[in-house]
Structure formats: C-alpha cells, structure tokens
C-alpha cells in the first residue's frame, strides 16, 4: 500500500467510524480533552500518511482539530478496522 493509498483508506475508515481506540489513546484523549469530532476532522483534513517501519503503524499527519490545531493520529491498519494507538 502506498502512502497515498493508505491515507485514502484510513480517511474512508474514519468516515465510516471503523476504528477502535486503545486504552492509551483513550488516556490521551482524556488528558487533552480530544473529542470525537476532533478525530473526525483531523482524519478528514490530514494531508499525508507516513509508515513507521518499526511497528508497521501509520502516522496520519497534517490534520487539524475543531480549533484548527494540529492533531497527528497513529493508526494500525487491520482488515476491517483501524486501531488508533496514539496522538
């Protein structure tokens, strides 16, 4: 999967709510008061996906939250679900 294909795939999965949040991601959301709509907007406005070869996860970068602040997502792509691990 190329980075462009990955970004398109990931954005489609976010738009369809096909993701699961890990406990670590939930903790980060709690401490930073990140909302459901922040995730949705950050994914939709992301401009690139970068593969992290060490753990096979994608950094989804360039996206912005509801306040226009940068919000980077780190996701693991599984067959029918994205696992969101970190922000």
């Amino acid at each position: 999967m190329t980075p462009t294909e990955a970004l398109t795939w990931i954005q489609g999965m976010f738009a369809a709510n096909r993701y699961a949040l890990t406990p670590h991601a939930q903790q980060r959301m709690r401490s930073r008061h990140i909302r459901f709509d922040d995730l949705r907007l950050a994914a939709a406005s992301a401009t690139r996906a970068v593969l992290q070869p060490a753990n096979d996860r994608w950094r989804v970068e360039g996206g912005r939250d509801m306040d226009g602040d940068d919000l980077t997502l780190v996701v693991e792509v599984r067959a029918d679900v994205l696992i969101i691990t970190l922000y």
Binding site: N17, R18, Y19, L21, T22, M66, D67, E76, D80
Partner: protein
Amino acid sequence: MSTDGPLPIATDALEACATCGSKSLNRSGRTEVVRAFDVTYPVGGGGYSQATYTFSADVPAAVCGACGAAYLSAEALAAGEYLITRELVARGVGGGAAAKWLRKSAGMTREGLAVLLGVGPERVAEWEQDRELVDRATLLILGDLALDAVEGRTRTLDRLRVVDTPPTDVVHVRAA
C-alpha cells in the same frame, strides 16, 4: 469492506487484543469515558477557589479477558460524550474547560461562537483558558446550544441568529 447497509460496530471486527495479542475479547464488555473539568469560582473577599468535577460515562466496549485492555468504538465514544454533555449542562458546571467542552458539543469554532454571542474571539479564548470567568447567562446559552446540537435541534442557534438580524419590514402577526 462493504459500505452497503448499516456497518457493524468496529470493535466487533477486532480479532485479537492489540495490547497483548490474546484472542479472548469480550465484545459485550463495558468501560468508562472519563473527563475532568477544573472550575475556578469566586469566593468572599475577592479571592478565588478551585474545584475539579469528574464525569464518568459507562459505555459498551470490547474488553480483553487476558490483560483487561478495553477498546472503544466511535459509537461508544460519541455516546459517552453525549452523556457527559448532558450532565455538565444539568449540573451547571462552569469554568473554562466546561465552556470549551460545551462549545465543541455545539459543533462551533471559537470564532463562530464569538460572532453568535456578539463578542470578540479573544473573549471566548479568555473564558476557555480561565483568564475570565464565564458569566451565568453565557453558560446557559452554551448549555442550550450544546444540548440542541447533541439532540438534533437548532432552536437556540436559530433564536440567536434572529437576534442578530432584526426584521427590516413590517411584520404582521395574528392570534389564532
């Protein structure tokens, strides 16, 4: 992935725990969406005091039987946020963090809210960063905007917009 018809909740598609790799996932489990809100409020003698309100919403989750890690779906997250918004409004919690939560629940940017309330965007930032206390009237409007949005109404938004655009012509009204 098919997009025909309603999609199953994403956590149902998890085959194994992403933390420990165990396949013993309980898809009927529960977890909590927790958010804490610091509130600064005035006390006698011109001083201020602080309190923290913590809200915990119980929502469905996939829970690993081996390590206990709980995975939250988008739907469960949204449901948890809805419950927290409702409780924040019902309990009249003030303060910057709550104001920011309610604004986001209303789906509004700082600039959008500022225009609606007839204040500068810096004023909204000051409220949300606890540099200025949010007055009761603003808190009430924010609560109504947030509840309307999460419950699919636009009543408060419509009324605020009307206030900003008075009729320019004669308006005839008649009682039934």
